[in-house]
Symmetry: C2
Subunit: 243 residues, 2 copies
């Protein structure tokens, strides 16, 4: 399993992903699930992926092939078109592999998130389903998740606001969401890849990988647990009616 999420606010985009892959419980490996395509000053895309690693690698191979030839994502006129190009690549791989997977009862399962900005157009964020169709994040639903998304959702539901959440705050919330998932589910694990895209910069200036023993990640884990415990202590006691 994987867990990736992206948050869109008025001021930009935050992307975060775990890096654990597994085929069964025995074969746990590290694989980057975050990919960037950047032409500084012209366009920035950040992609996140979950699902079968073989499939997502094939989709990225298609996208990189087109991009290298100045086509595909390199020439998309809008973020919507970029999302469609990712969906087309998913369908290309589907037409090559799906039938062979299904012969052995394996589902064709690969999900993408793509966010970024082209020129002077607004920054946008999309999810691409395994069928290739796109879904756009909106001010009312300003985050998208793929993979093992439930453990890390409550904090996002409660704290992410398109209009008022700063990118610094959204970054913290993304790490809390990922850490909550890693704490409760063994198949989601570090290192964590993180990109913060500031609207209208048309370059990626904040990107890093946080290992399992990264001091910032450990501090967030420890302090968040202390905060949660203290916050639950502060809630008033539940009163029962007299028996």
């Amino acid at each position: 399993m994987s867990y990736c999420l992206a948050i869109q606010t008025k001021l930009g985009l935050v992307f975060a992903s775990d890096s654990r892959t597994n085929a069964g419980l025995d074969q746990a490996n590290v694989a980057t699930k975050l990919t960037t395509f950047v032409k500084p000053g012209e366009r920035v895309y950040v992609l996140l992926t979950s699902g079968g690693l073989s499939l997502s690698q094939s989709v990225l191979a298609v996208l990189h092939g087109e991009y290298g030839a100045g086509k595909g994502l390199a020439g998309a006129a809008t973020m919507y078109e970029a999302a469609r190009i990712v969906g087309d690549a998913v369908r290309t791989v589907s037409s090559r592999d799906r039938e062979h997977l299904e012969k052995d009862g394996i589902a064709f399962n690969v999900n993408f998130i793509i966010g970024g900005q082209i020129g002077t157009q607004p920054h946008e964020l999309y999810m691409i389903y395994p069928q290739g169709n796109p879904l756009r994040a909106t001010p009312e639903s300003p985050f998208l998740q793929i993979g093992e998304s439930k453990y890390g959702r409550p904090i996002l539901d409660r704290a992410v606001r398109y209009d008022t959440t700063s990118l610094e705050q959204a970054t913290k919330l993304a790490l809390i969401s990922l850490d909550s998932t890693m704490r409760s589910n063994l198949t989601v694990g570090p290192p964590v890849d993180l990109v913060v895209y500031h609207a209208n910069e048309l370059k990626v200036r904040q990107q890093m990988r946080l290992g399992a023993d990264d001091p910032q990640l450990m501090m967030i884990r420890t302090q968040w647990e202390q905060e949660l415990r203290a916050a639950s202590q502060r809630l008033p006691e539940v009163k029962f009616p007299e028996a």
Copy 2:
């Protein structure tokens, strides 16, 4: 979907459940998922259930029938035996219904939690799988969940401790866990049923139902959201390496 959870600490047991049932999205109804069997001074059982309502009703009909005749749960010598009696009732219903469900591709899916105390024996807590086999909560794993369990798990993982968590605190944590789930998943909804069993009392003195507009439930929801937002603000800002 449903969400039920029970917490075992040194001092007793806390049980909480939602009450929403649905067959598809259209038929949303309220159904109690918490049932008590009490002989004051002798034995207390609290049962929680998730899965097919038709199935859980049938299992409870078996258990009530036996109990009314002074058999089954009425005479169990230990909590382990009580858990086995619930499992036997699940198997009785399975042998009657499973085959007919599977003809239409419907899984035989019903889960139970049973906790309580018999005489001077320790209070215990078990989950019963759809196959009828029991799993006991332990000091290292002091809570059990059935149904839509992921949204509400992080707070339990981080704050429930068998030795040190008070029953008052465990009650708050159970409501936070349920509220987090109701906030993020429409198929889990109020009213919330709540029982706190204090070890060695051999009666149920704290039980109540909290409706959607119950002031205590609304207060927990509001204050918890405020606490989470404030706590995330207090975490130090994430620092990126200089580009």
